[in-house]
């Protein structure tokens, strides 16, 4: 986007200040349409947004999803209950444990199983480790999108410590294959408490440093403070979930409201923020990582002994059940129907990003093209799906396309000239 000076007018002196926009959903003329996306197949849930622009200001954004729709819900109907655990883990490469956790607990509800206490504690430990690595991944990505590559590399280096712990406990770094119906597949390895305590101390130390850094480092402050603002009233209407919702001041968290696993005994403190912008998401997620570290140490301390699983039957009796867990990105919802047998009749999955897409589009309105990467990353959709963007300006009979990398550079240079 080297000739941006000629082709995309940068309007206004304030650069990032939110502008008043008038048009509602899907009222636009094609002249101002900018397709945004769609996919990078390496990342889960790529999205495509039609951005409606007025000059450089976004008036509206219309999502189109499903570019990596793999028909998993349909595929699940042909597989057994047990096989599906491993299928659903593959929906997401980051919160794979949350998927299997929600699914097996929905089945345990139909079977009316009392999961062994030790297994419930182990589930909390792995789920919180997953939340830490997911939030750290996101914090690093924000560094990357804002041009603060050093932060990206530092955080991702520290994240390796968490992944090593997950590997030591479950045997795998990404797709943990650890949950099973009625518990977890194996006990914690011997002598694991010492490494966990050591690594948690290290992570806490690093995250405190990053939390301080993101709230005062100018590179990040200029790009995130006051950007992508959303108020509690809009959030209540659009029903987002997870940190995006809590950043508006609404303290809704499945772990405390509808406790599962051992969260009734290891009670998390729900962190909120009242700003509702991307900057508050940064500090909020850092706070949640610190809280997760506390929960892991607490679970380790209170861990009872005993078995980690029962013997589960192959078939599930007729019935239906809805279950949700707090994945790193928010409420992850599973609804299963069993016809009575070894395969499910229907499994409905609603991932947190699906709930947040609508809110993200409303967050974009009134901000500039340069803010798009940061705002969309703000909802943590595993977003990286901007490999090719075509920019159309019908008036000028010009058309060019830019890669995601170019847009990142454009965002960085835009703010360099405007603010720094």
């Amino acid at each position: 986007m080297s000739d941006k000076g000629n082709n995309s007018p940068i309007s206004g002196e304030e650069g990032s200040a939110k502008r008043e926009v008038s048009a509602g959903l899907m009222q636009y003329s094609p002249e101002n349409l900018m397709p945004f996306g769609p996919v990078h197949p390496a990342l889960h849930e790529p999205e495509y947004f039609k951005l409606i622009l007025e000059g450089e200001v976004i008036v509206d954004a219309i999502p189109r999803i499903g570019f990596v729709h793999r028909g998993i819900e349909r595929a699940a109907q042909d597989r057994t209950w047990i096989k599906n655990i491993y299928l659903f883990e593959r929906i997401c490469g980051i919160c794979s444990f949350a998927h299997s956790l929600s699914y097996v607990q929905a089945i345990e509800g139909i079977l009316q199983f009392e999961v062994p206490k030790r297994a419930r504690y182990i589930r909390v430990i792995v789920a919180e480790l997953e939340r830490i690595h997911s939030h750290m991944l996101w914090l690093g990505l924000v560094g990357y999108w804002t041009g603060f590559d050093t932060l990206f590399m530092w955080i991702w280096k520290d994240r390796e410590h968490v992944l090593d712990l997950i590997e030591a406990i479950t045997g795998n770094r990404v797709h943990k294959s650890y949950n099973t119906i009625s518990g977890v597949r194996k006990d914690l390895p011997e002598n694991i408490s010492e490494p966990i305590k050591r690594e948690m101390a290290y992570i806490q130390d690093r995250i405190r440093y990053y939390r301080d850094l993101v709230s005062r480092e100018e590179t990040l402050v200029v790009r995130t403070r006051g950007i992508g603002k959303i108020d509690a009233e809009t959030a209540r209407k659009l029903c987002p979930v997870g940190p995006l919702l809590r950043s508006t001041g609404i303290a809704r968290d499945v772990r405390t409201e509808d406790p599962y696993a051992a969260y009734d005994e290891i009670v998390p403190e729900v962190k909120t923020s009242s700003q509702g912008d991307v900057a508050s998401l940064l500090t909020l997620r850092a706070d949640e990582v610190l809280e997760s570290c506390r929960l892991i140490l607490l679970a380790l301390e209170k861990m009872p002994s005993g078995p980690t699983k029962l013997t589960a039957p192959r078939s599930v009796p007729k019935g239906e059940n809805a279950f949700h867990v707090e994945a790193p990105r928010g409420e992850l919802f599973y609804y299963i129907r069993s016809p009575g047998g070894i395969t499910p009749e229907r499994v409905k999955i609603r991932t947190p990003t699906m709930a947040n897409v609508l809110t993200a589009t409303s967050m974009l309105k009134g901000y500039t093209l340069a803010d798009v990467p940061v705002v969309l990353t703000g909802m943590d959709p595993c977003f990286g799906c901007m490999d090719r963007i075509s920019v159309f300006e019908v008036d000028k009979e010009k058309q060019w396309s830019v890669r995601g990398e170019d847009l990142r550079q454009y965002g960085i240079s835009h703010y360099k000239t405007k603010k720094l």
């Binding site: 028909g71 139909i110 029903c239």
Partner: protein
């Protein structure tokens, strides 16, 4: 939350309440869906977190469930529409959060939601999905046949 409120809603729209583990299910006629959602929001604003909208094939009908969540409980509004004439009135103007969920049900199960602007285009299915093929989550949809249909195009 008091039990009475949901009974009020059920009485006004002529539905039946049943209990299923952590969910209370309000089963209603398809024509009463908008009323039920409206009354629910008026009577119980706290229940106003729409988790999702689920659709599933029941054989001759398509079941549609609106899942609301509060505290330790789900509240589900369930309705069924016949397969040949699967049309519902959208609630996306009352519940803005439902706009994408309804579009998803439309794509995967072919339920028409009147008044939902997102259903005018495909949301999840590829644009190349043959229009004459049954929606993929209906029981009559045969993945092999659909694959062949798509290869012929």
């Amino acid at each position: 939350m008091e039990e009475g409120n949901l009974d009020d809603v059920a009485a006004r729209v002529g539905g039946q309440i049943s209990q299923n583990r952590n969910s209370r299910v309000l089963t209603i006629e398809p024509g009463k869906l908008r009323d039920a959602c409206k009354f629910l929001i008026d009577e119980m604003p706290d229940f106003y977190h729409l988790s999702t909208v689920t659709g599933f094939d029941e054989g001759k009908t398509i079941g549609v469930i609106y899942h609301f969540w509060k505290g330790k409980e789900f509240l589900s509004i369930k309705t069924s529409v016949p397969k040949e004439n699967a049309i519902l009135n959208s609630v996306s103007d009352i519940l803005p959060a439902s706009i994408l969920y309804e579009a998803e049900v439309k794509d995967l199960l072919g339920v028409e939601f009147k008044g939902n602007r997102m259903t005018l285009q495909r949301l999840i299915l590829p644009d190349a999905y043959p229009p004459e093929a049954p929606p993929p989550l209906r029981k009559e949809a045969d993945p092999e046949k659909i694959r062949k249909m798509m290869e012929l195009e």
